[in-house]
Symmetry: C2
Subunit: 477 residues, 2 copies
């Protein structure tokens, strides 16, 4: 992990200097990191990147070169630069467990720290979590469309830079992908690798048949052939069958074929027919041609004979929605040892923030299905022996009462007073956890088009606090 201490917006530094000069840099504040809208019209977002946030915090340190650079800007004095030299994160961060399923408006990371520190880390936290959560969520949609077939992340060449390829592969794996083509991501996160040969391999030989034979001779037990370099049905499949027969004669079973262009529905059905009549009916057919969840869904509906999906550009960039709009908003300021709730008003009611030091409670029914979430103040207690009534924050007459339910506090400690408490997991463990999270959602929330919206309500105390602050602010200013 690179030192990303300067990976921040310049205004964080001008503000930090401003806090210092005003003598308020040690004032403790609370920031919530949350998003307002799920990506890709999905009904949920898988939160990923928590462990990279930890890597970032652990490596926070302004080195001599950083300080020297800032000095050249001629805006900051030595007192401020000295403070940066001694920078150390001493605050507390609560966050959801990596791989958790979360919903709009819910704090997914909560920072309580001196404003000097909380301000610096805003940009990197958003950068890391916005991207990985976006790709994990997109991957989850693609895997949902594939309906259990393995999906392989193939997007490195079109990813938005090296990190996007690396951390995108990680997020895609967490979101449900079976593997990646990205060797570095495979190494860093122990993600299964996938890949055989490209068109250039086929072209390098005088004929396609020669190219197939050369590949089969080296990888007799994992022979998967790319059949669309010249003509899939007239050349690729007949040549593949020839080589598969030769392999079988030597006691090896071929793995399959890959189709990378053309009408995948038609070609895959024809390919399957030809392969079946040659005695290779059960081999894998992998498709990889500008796929996304919509195309995969459509191909499945058309009866395409595909058993595995290689998904590139549209997954690694989340092409139809390439940014998750996570924000980081001040929600409280410590004054005389007490946290005073703060609010940000907007003409757009959706953009009015939820004030105070808050938590997120998930309500499960007896069968373990998630029924609703409640954003509440951190010191609120819920007695699960009593019925719990929640209400819509806007249409307050929309109510729901739970009788037999259990609850779960979604935010867990990552740092407390600067000490790391989070237990890291392997990418595979996080992927397993996400799978479990998804199994707690009704299918209606998981469908690709127009999913049911999950309920996220405010506790009565929080709702009252918010309304009081809005009214005070609108009357007062």
């Amino acid at each position: 992990m690179k030192n990303h201490t300067l990976l921040t917006d310049f205004y964080q530094l001008t503000m930090m200097n401003g806090y210092l000069k005003n003598g308020i840099h040690n004032d403790v504040v609370v920031f919530d990191l949350f998003f307002r809208k799920n990506p890709c019209d999905n009904s949920y977002t898988i939160i990923a990147g928590i462990e990279q946030v930890i890597d970032y915090i652990e490596n926070l340190s302004f080195n001599e070169e950083d300080i020297q650079y800032l000095r050249t800007l001629k805006l900051f004095d030595e007192v401020f630069l000295e403070e940066l030299k001694n920078f150390k994160f001493t605050g507390s961060i609560y966050a959801v467990e990596e791989g958790s399923i979360m919903f709009p408006q819910e704090p997914v990371v909560r920072v309580l720290a001196p404003c000097f520190q909380a301000q610096l880390i805003e940009t990197a936290l958003l950068n890391i979590i916005n991207f990985q959560s976006l790709i994990a969520t997109k991957a989850s949609r693609v895997c949902e469309a594939a309906g259990g077939d393995p999906v392989f992340e193939f997007g490195l060449r079109r990813a938005q830079g090296p990190d996007a390829g690396i951390y995108g592969a990680r997020a895609a794996y967490i979101g449900g992908c079976a593997g990646t083509s990205n060797v570095l991501a495979g190494k860093m996160f122990n993600i299964p690798l996938s890949g055989t040969q490209a068109h250039s391999w086929i072209q390098k030989f005088d004929t396609e048949l020669e190219a197939f034979r050369a590949y089969a001779s080296i990888y007799p037990d994992s022979c998967l052939l790319l059949v669309d370099t010249y003509d899939t049905l007239k050349s690729g499949i007949p040549n593949a069958i020839k080589v598969f027969q030769e392999l079988r004669a030597k006691g090896h079973e071929p793995l399959g074929i890959r189709i990378d262009s053309g009408d995948i529905a038609y070609l895959s059905k024809e390919a399957r027919r030809l392969l079946r009549s040659a005695g290779f009916g059960n081999i894998k057919i992998v498709a990889s041609s500008d796929l996304d969840e919509g195309t995969i869904h459509s191909l499945k509906m058309q009866g395409a004979e595909i058993t595995g999906w290689g998904v590139g550009t549209n997954l690694i960039t989340s092409k139809d929605c390439p940014a998750l709009g996570g924000v980081y908003k001040l929600s409280a300021v410590e004054e005389n040892g007490q946290l005073t709730p703060k609010i940000k008003i907007s003409e757009n009611p959706e953009k009015i923030t939820n004030p105070g030091y808050k938590k997120v409670i998930r309500i499960y029914n007896e069968d373990g299905y998630a029924e609703a979430d409640l954003i509440a103040l951190d010191d609120e207690e819920i007695d699960t022996n009593k019925p719990l009534t929640i209400f819509h924050p806007l249409y307050t007459w929309k109510k729901k009462t739970f009788y037999n339910y259990s609850i779960r506090d979604m935010l867990v400690p990552v740092y407390v007073d600067g000490t790391l408490l989070y237990n890291r997991k392997t990418a595979e463990e996080i992927k397993g956890y996400t799978k479990k999270e998804l199994s707690s959602l009704w299918p209606e929330y998981k469908r690709l088009n127009r999913p049911q919206l999950y309920k996220v309500d405010l506790s009565e105390r929080l709702w009252n606090l918010k309304n009081d602050l809005v009214n005070k602010r609108r009357d007062g200013e």
Copy 2:
């Protein structure tokens, strides 16, 4: 720069091993890196990332940890791993100068190297050039819409990971942006930084006026105030005017205001009116609210009183088109000391590659305007004392003859036989070069909507070669 040797697709390694086992790993091949479509319906693409390609090549080396990881995959033998340990790039790379304006189908990077080497580097080259070229081009569109007003890149928090923020800021600067909020990019590439304060600064104080005063007291000569935290016209502007008057009384001139939400057209005009009547008619008004080239164009048409533009998400992700589809295709193979042209056929005629070892020639008229490009074989010579007739590769009756013209070879040596020959430039120099490149394009190519398409033709020799190979392949297979 990290060591990105493993930043490659797994199939590159399985193919490299395959070439080695077949004893053909030292066969020299030619790959062209090109794209088929400009991003965002633009008529040109600014090529960026060449210097990061060099960083990548310079750092290519499989270390012990990489080898050990590959060993665990149980697919490769020690002979192959030994070959990797000794890996060194010894080939030749020609590329356009960074910041050049290029068009679909044109080789922008040309690699001539043993196939063992040329294959490994494909993925990283595409990753680096696809992303930076995309963002440089998008930035150029945004700056075109801003019509000379400074545009600031503010997207780090929404970028697709740290590298996307860092190299995206670099590309945006090359494409025409005046600065970035990204401090690390500022340090790495000496890009001017921009940034003042966020809503959290305003919220941190008891009142907006207090927050403005605190900021002005520290930055009296660069005081730019964010006016939309509570109510832009009722609170933000009046408070800003108060503080600006206090500043002026102390002999300082305020810099301006920033509006980050609401109806920018209306608010900016009203803000200008209020500021003017208070004697601050000439201060800057910066807008930053989900902007892109379309919105900026529309705001300008509406007479919005904006003098500078902060552009985030839509620029750093190129939201409407988040990937440039650059590809890397085999175009020739050395056989008995001769380069034999190779072609990749496709049912889609657009996807048939141009064979052979090629160059790109730009034709300029007497006034220095670019008139057309010609893709030709590398050994073709053009005598500029004679007229030059070019023809459309599909509608061959569409011809054009040039009489007084000059030509320029777009590909320059980056590596020759493994030796680096490229002269690195500062980001500012590249930005200057791109500006010059843009000035050689007629305005009709630069308009945002439905621009004129620039002519890219094939030389007669290349056209004949391509047709011969297509016919041979279609008849033969």
